[in-house]
Symmetry: none
Subunit: 237 residues, 4 copies
């Protein structure tokens, strides 16, 4: 239902297809069984042997599927994994999140204390990143996306954007709070996309480059620095 590439033209299905040499398969005839088997096989293999050794051939064999069935629906190994990750990865993440009490996918909590809220979420992100199950596949997808722009866009759109948008919402909420109590939590002119990057950019940097381990303490410090600045508060005259 959410696969990345060959969408149906979404209208006039039997229209003049004869002259289209690009062979668009008919997604209404697609085998749901195979799709799931391929997702499962892909995730299992990445977990077991790593992304570099996960081959299309291997996925097909493990899924009990012909190679062509993979090539028919996905343009690359990475796209398969991304789809698998989005679809299957959602479920455990969501249920885990709900177990913790309605976390991220439900939105960043808004207790009124922006610093506390951000720390909570950044710590959660740290935890997720440190989860060994997610680590390698996510690295693989990120790496692929860095080199392959098209896949990178998919990666951002389908995996990252939903998470990042929560930060934007929370920051916007903080900005609009000015009216109610006369004290905005954030600068009135704040660009939330940039603000967000000040928060998650450092985490991503550290994770991708492995310059230092990601800890809760680190998350806290980043929030503090980002909110109140690196510069020392000017003494008042």
């Amino acid at each position: 239902m959410a696969d990345s590439v060959p969408n149906v033209p979404s209208g006039a299905p039997g229209s003049s297809r004869a002259l289209d040499s690009s062979r668009v398969p008919d997604s209404s005839r697609r085998s749901e069984r195979s799709r799931r088997a391929i997702h499962d096989a892909a995730l299992a293999l990445v977990g077991e042997v790593g992304y570099a050794k996960t081959t299309v051939e291997g996925i097909a064999a493990r899924a009990g599927v012909g190679k062509q069935t993979i090539y028919r629906w996905w343009p690359s190994r990475a796209a398969v994994l991304l789809d698998a990750f989005v679809e299957r990865g959602d479920r455990p993440a969501r249920s885990a999140g709900e177990a913790e009490g309605g976390s991220e996918p439900a939105g960043i909590p808004d207790t009124g204390d922006l610093e506390a809220d951000l720390k909570l979420v950044l710590r959660a992100t740290v935890d997720q990143i440190n989860d060994p199950v997610f680590e390698m596949p996510t690295r693989a997808l990120a790496a692929e996306g860095i080199v392959n722009a098209e896949l990178g866009a998919e990666f951002v759109r389908r995996l990252l954007e939903p998470q990042l948008h929560l930060y934007v919402d929370r920051l916007r909420a903080a900005a609009s709070r000015t009216d109610t109590d006369g004290v905005a939590a954030v600068r009135p002119d704040l660009d939330p996309r940039i603000a967000l990057e000040l928060l998650v950019g450092p985490l991503a940097h550290r994770w991708l480059l492995r310059t230092a381990p990601l800890t809760h303490a680190y998350a806290d410090t980043v929030v503090e620095y980002a909110l109140y600045g690196l510069a020392r508060p000017r003494p008042r005259p």
Copy 2:
């Protein structure tokens, strides 16, 4: 002088090496000519066909070199490229830098105005990142490093660390300024490694994920937000 992996044991040089099956090559006999040709070929190919299609065989053919000569001295295609990049990439960067008036490699300027200094450097980084010649090879190396920890460490150590260290120095300088004028530019307790990440993390994030273009204005905003915080200055009681 700077190749990444099979160093000479650097001790006990005359020992009976002939019977050692692990075949450590004698780097003193290494052909300088081949080394350079391999570097050039690697860079040229990455530029022309992209990293994914740059093969060891292709590099060897282009360099007029036997494949074994590559395998003898480097453990992987990525290591070749990294070496090539460090050695050849340095030169243009350095000369460009000197043309601007002794910039980065010579250290971040310290005019006393931290904000201005940081903006200057971040803008320079933005420019370098936007240079199309550097873009693809750098992406390729970064992507490889994300997945391959060993190469990632090399990448950071040899390409990134020197640049990042300049930020650390400048920030430390700002912190120590307290003594001189009684007003530190930065918080006294500042951790410079984290501070640095608040500055470059956002840039890296945007570049790697292509979420938005990198501009000078963006660099300026990042510096402002990072220095003075996202939060609105508290009114004094």
Copy 3:
């Protein structure tokens, strides 16, 4: 009317066929339109791209027909081509023959001069073999028949036998002439099947192995040698 394999059982037609899992198709419902289209497509493709590159998929696509419609009625690609050849190939051959004045299908002429009659027919065979339109498909079928005994038998039965039988008839006629004029054209004990092979065997040999071109002169020589022998007539004592 002449397709090779799944004939109707041709007896007990109303028997309980519904439960028969071997799925014998009802040939009375067969689409004449499709049959012809498949024949035409098969012949056209063999002519255009050669037999080896003529695929079932290609025939189906060209004929505007589902693959299953081919598999339903023929057991193999070769069987399709054989059918096509027999049915469509007949027509031009027959009309050409009739233009010459009631030739082959009507029987070898019997002018009383066996040598002349055989030369005439062998020359006609040479001409037919040299016709570029027939050459490749015939080679393809012959080659297939050499390896595949079942198809070979079909090939002989439906394409070759009718032609060869004419030789047998003519030779038998020559043998029976003894009675009328006291002088038989052929040995009285002659086995016509072997005699026939002495005539067409050499042509076939030369054509299949391409050891030398097939000419009228060659046909004439074969007839002479075959009729009067390789050995020199013994001088009488």
Copy 4:
């Protein structure tokens, strides 16, 4: 030493090869071990599963060889089999022949009695053809050669021609006998290539088309018919 396709230019080995894009491998570096293993595997597989199911992949696997090693030296599966057949097939045939007392490869016997000599040899050919070990591979090669002119030429040149040439020699000898005893065994004007075809053409025809079994009696009859003609000897006046 006798493989069919990529010969060395046979002179000036190191000459300007740089501009030749057709990648001619250096046959002096060829692995004799692999060549033999491929031959053996090919023959074994054709014997076990038949030619149609003998794949390049299968040969490579059985021979413990990379596929590329096959594609490097042969243009097709059929060429491999032909080479294998010529080289390995020779040995058993030769030794069997010598056991019988210096048969074919040593030349057709010349006892002075042409009829007896030819019958002997044609019977031997019948026996060879009926040998189940040779049957299927030979059929496969013959069929391939019928469709593929290039391979057909190789087939004739390397397998057939040597055998056929013996007939030519024997017939020529018979023709030149005129001088010695005043009585030639054969017509003085005889074309030996055509005469030969009168002898082997019928056998080939029967074998390829399976119209009737090949027996010694058949061979004898062919020789008689061919030597003395189908026509009845004219009564003398």
